[in-house]
């Protein structure tokens, strides 16, 4: 029962991690093409807040519940399945940190421009494009990790 509750938390936090990631990427991409500067600034704030609140928290909860479940099942930490999953997750985490940095830059640029009532600079779109590419990359890596998660080898248990 203890194992099942951690598994439920693990799945729900995966929803917060990937589901919100997909949702915010679409939202950000769509919102930036509305050509409304005030709305763009608002989106930048909202997406950053959601990234911290949902993706950040889920990003911490995922490995903790994952480790607890592995410990509870007595799986070995030297299996290819586990190492690949850990590498994938670390890579996704690095991409996420880069995404947060770029999003912060986008937000600051958008605020500056909004205050001076100017058009968004070319630098904003460069950061934005790079951010979206990194976000899509993170989602693809997480999908690969989830593929491994849903198909973990039962025979690794002692």
């Amino acid at each position: 029962m203890f194992y099942n509750w951690f598994k439920i938390i693990h799945v729900i936090s995966a929803a917060a991690l990937l589901g919100t990631g997909v949702g915010t990427t679409f939202y950000l991409f769509w919102g930036n093409f509305q050509k409304n500067l005030t709305y763009t600034v608002k989106i930048c704030f909202q997406v950053l807040r959601v990234d911290y609140l949902f993706t950040g928290v889920a990003g911490v909860v995922q490995p903790i519940t994952g480790f607890i479940m592995i410990y509870a099942k007595g799986y070995s930490l030297t299996t290819v399945w586990w190492i690949t999953t850990l590498l994938g997750y670390s890579l996704a985490g690095m991409c996420w940190f880069a995404t947060i940095y770029l999003q912060t830059q986008c937000r600051d640029l958008a605020i500056d421009v909004c205050d001076q009532k100017e058009k968004l600079p070319q630098r904003y779109y460069r950061y934005f494009t790079f951010r979206c590419v990194l976000n899509v990359l993170t989602i693809i890596i997480l999908m690969i990790v989830f593929y491994y998660m849903t198909n973990f080898p039962q025979q690794t248990a002692p």
Partner: protein
Amino acid sequence: MIITKFIHVLLGITLLGSLTIFYIFINSAIRQHDNVALKYTTQFSLYMDLLIVLIFVVLFLTGTFLVYQKYFSFSIPWIRAAYFLLALTVICWMTSFIIRFNNYKKLCNNNFEQFQYKRLFHSCHWLIILFIIFIVHDAVTKSTLFNVL
């Protein structure tokens, strides 16, 4: 079976996460009385509903396919409960769709005063989240809180 389960889990978590996010964005616009943000956000959520329909259909199909592949029976209480909860989720989502669509029409026609059926809209989204969590619980524990079905 490997691919079916992967698609099923992936779409399930995407559905839960996406619906929660759209709700948060719309709720934020409602609370701030920002009609411009509300219009754009509602429009976006309505477009994304096309994707949500597809996810619901594929979830139903892959779920049914998994029942056959894993030699489960449709009379197992947690499987019956999963179908029942999915149906309730679809009903809540359709109600939310109608509310958002009506409010969006008012926003476009410039006769919007305040978000209509706000309580029903909030209730629908909280119920959707709750129902999906129940489905996850039932699928993980292979038992259900809805044994009465």
